[in-house]
């Protein structure tokens, strides 16, 4: 899983939305796989719409979305899945698939039309579980896991997909504090493997912790984009969420201090 080719997502004058109702208009945005991009914005502003459009679930109403210069509509699902993997929020499934099978699902994009996973695919799935320290779960039924465990398994599935770009939909929602930190740690470590990350989150702190780039959605077209330290200011956060926040630089031992954000209540 090294030496991935860089992947660039580009929204060009894209108007995104459902039917006649645009949610985001004239969006111009470039997201590259050599960064961890955190997507911030209030509820209902269109983070999910942006994701669903980037993943090809929702064709843009106007404009285009390009992946490495090629319109995403012209990819087959399989071609696309080899480049971009999606980590949904941990959810429930009615069927008792084993964890190792769920991770194997990630290999689907590498199989033939009627193919089933072979020895190599199982090896990839095993080593992914190993890497995320989930080996002990591999025989457990997925629906019986805790929310945090399920989220980690879905990350493992996306890694087994061997894509260069991962899209996370609020990966820490519904997780306890410890699991939130563990998931964020894993996401940050993925960057060292040159895997690009786009992640929606409700917490500006996540952007300070792991983001190298932050995208803020405010109105239907207002997009701010840049390094977290540069654009996540008290003014911007007030504009975005309508609340007053304070920013501090917290010492981190030997590492450079990290900015943290706390609301004024």
């Amino acid at each position: 899983m090294v030496n991935k080719s860089a992947v660039v997502f580009e929204f060009r004058n894209a108007t995104l939305g459902y039917g006649a109702q645009p949610v985001l208009t004239n969006l111009n945005l470039t997201i590259s796989s050599d960064s961890v991009t955190c997507l911030l914005g209030p509820n209902g502003v269109g983070k999910t719409t942006l994701f669903r459009s980037a993943l090809g679930f929702l064709p843009p109403l106007k404009g285009e979305i390009l992946l490495n210069g090629k319109n995403t509509a012209r990819f087959t699902p399989k071609e696309f899945a080899r480049q971009v993997a999606y980590v949904p929020q941990a959810h429930h499934t009615p069927f008792p698939y084993k964890v190792k099978d769920v991770v194997l699902f990630g290999r689907t994009a590498h199989l033939g039309y009627f193919g089933t996973p072979n020895h190599h695919d199982r090896k990839v799935a095993e080593s992914t579980l190993e890497m995320l320290e989930l080996r002990h779960l591999s025989e457990r039924p997925f629906p019986q896991l805790s929310g945090g465990e399920r989220q980690m398994v879905l990350i493992a599935r996306a890694l087994a997909q061997d894509a260069s770009f991962l899209i996370f939909d609020e990966p820490t929602s519904n997780l306890d504090y410890g699991n939130q930190c563990r998931v964020l740690q894993k996401i940050r470590s993925l960057q060292d493997q040159s895997i690009g990350i786009l992640m929606a989150t409700h917490s500006p702190d996540h952007a300070f912790m792991i983001g190298t780039q932050v995208v803020i959605l405010q109105g239907s077209s207002l997009v701010q984009c840049g390094r977290p330290q540069d654009i996540l200011t008290t003014e911007t956060l007030h504009q975005t969420y309508g609340v007053d926040v304070l920013l501090f630089d917290a010492p981190q031992g030997d590492s450079p201090p990290r900015r943290i954000c706390t609301p004024v209540l």
Partner: protein, 334 residues
């Protein structure tokens, strides 16, 4: 690797059980046959009783083959639909195929068509109902959850067919046609002949093969439409293949033997408890177990009383408590 052996073992044991059950089913029946006669006929092809070949080959064998085909087809169809709709409570008739087929048959009976006519109209009615449901889903469902819209339009079509079926019954002559419709709706394997099987078996094969080919993709699809797409599956093609195969099978089955409920709901559950959720084993195993189940029930239908009991009634009577038992036993996971 161990898993592979387990899967093969399940299929081998299932096949042996089915084979034994076939032998027993050949033996059971109104016309008395001794086991010795039966074995001599099967293995040496000779017999002293001139009626024996007729009873075995023209009456019992077609019925056994029919039970296997119908039970297997309904079960594998139910399994595929439960995966597609991500819901273990779904049966093959969710898109209206059975109610459409029932309506078709009732109209044919009303028009005094021949048996072939009843079968054709019933088959056509089943397919038409599904096409309508899918069509409504397509036209209404822009931007909605595809699966949810499909289920709802299936409900609309089913209840519409149900209402029209009631109308047919209301207009039917209560002396001959009404009983014919009612009896047809109860389902029976009694009237199936070899000629029916020559038509139904190829259709079932055409339905089963694509499902088995896409067994891995069905696993992924059962996790959710958008996730499956992001994992590299062309979900609209796969959905169309599954709906087409299951509808073909179910419509053809219903057209020759009437409505046999519960099999397509109960057997996938039972099988999932034995094999787990993986469609690679679940699909073939549910065909096998469905065949065994219906053959068993059909043997009961034709032997527990002097008058044959319609098999649709028996599957429900046996199915309901069975289902309750397994539901209690399985608790959290299906």
């Amino acid at each position: 690797m161990l898993e592979k052996y387990k899967h093969s073992l399940i299929l081998v044991i299932g096949s042996i059980l089915l084979l034994l059950l076939c032998l027993i089913s050949l033996y059971i029946g109104r016309y008395p046959i001794t086991p010795a006669e039966l074995f001599r006929f099967i293995f040496h092809g000779e017999c002293t009783d001139p009626n024996l070949p007729v009873v075995l080959l023209n009456i019992r064998a077609p019925r056994i083959i029919a039970a296997i085909a119908v039970g297997g087809a309904l079960s594998i169809a139910g399994t595929a639909y439960q995966g597609l709709f991500r819901n273990p409570m779904v049966s093959p008739d969710i898109l209206g195929v059975t109610s459409g087929a029932g309506l078709g048959a009732a109209i044919a009976i009303l028009l005094s068509l021949s048996i072939v006519g009843i079968q054709l109209l019933s088959f056509a009615g089943g397919l038409a109902a599904v096409l309508l449901a899918v069509g409504i889903g397509k036209s209404v469902g822009k931007g909605h959850d595809v699966i949810l819209v499909l289920v709802l339009s299936g409900m609309i079509i089913s209840s519409l067919c149900g209402a029209l079926l009631s109308l047919c019954k209301y207009m039917a002559d209560p002396d001959d046609k009404l009983p014919a419709i009612t009896y047809w709706l109860m389902g029976s394997l009694a009237s199936i002949r070899m000629n029916d099987l020559y038509v139904v078996l190829p259709i079932i094969t055409v339905g089963v093969v694509p499902l088995l080919l896409f067994r891995w993709q069905l696993n992924v699809l059962s996790f959710g439409e958008e996730e499956a797409r992001s994992l590299g599956i062309n979900t609209s093609v796969l959905r169309a293949v599954v709906i087409l195969s299951t509808s073909l099978m179910t419509a053809s089955v219903v057209s020759v033997c009437g409505i046999i409920g519960w099999v397509g709901l109960l057997v996938p559950h039972l099988t999932r408890m034995i094999t787990g959720a993986d469609h690679r084993i679940l699909l073939p195993a549910s065909f096998l177990f469905g065949a065994i189940f219906l053959l068993l029930v059909d043997n009961l239908a034709r032997s527990i009383s002097s008058v044959e009991i319609p098999i649709g009634i028996l599957t429900a009577v046996i199915g309901a408590p069975f289902f309750l038992y397994f539901l209690r036993k399985s608790k959290r996971t299906w």
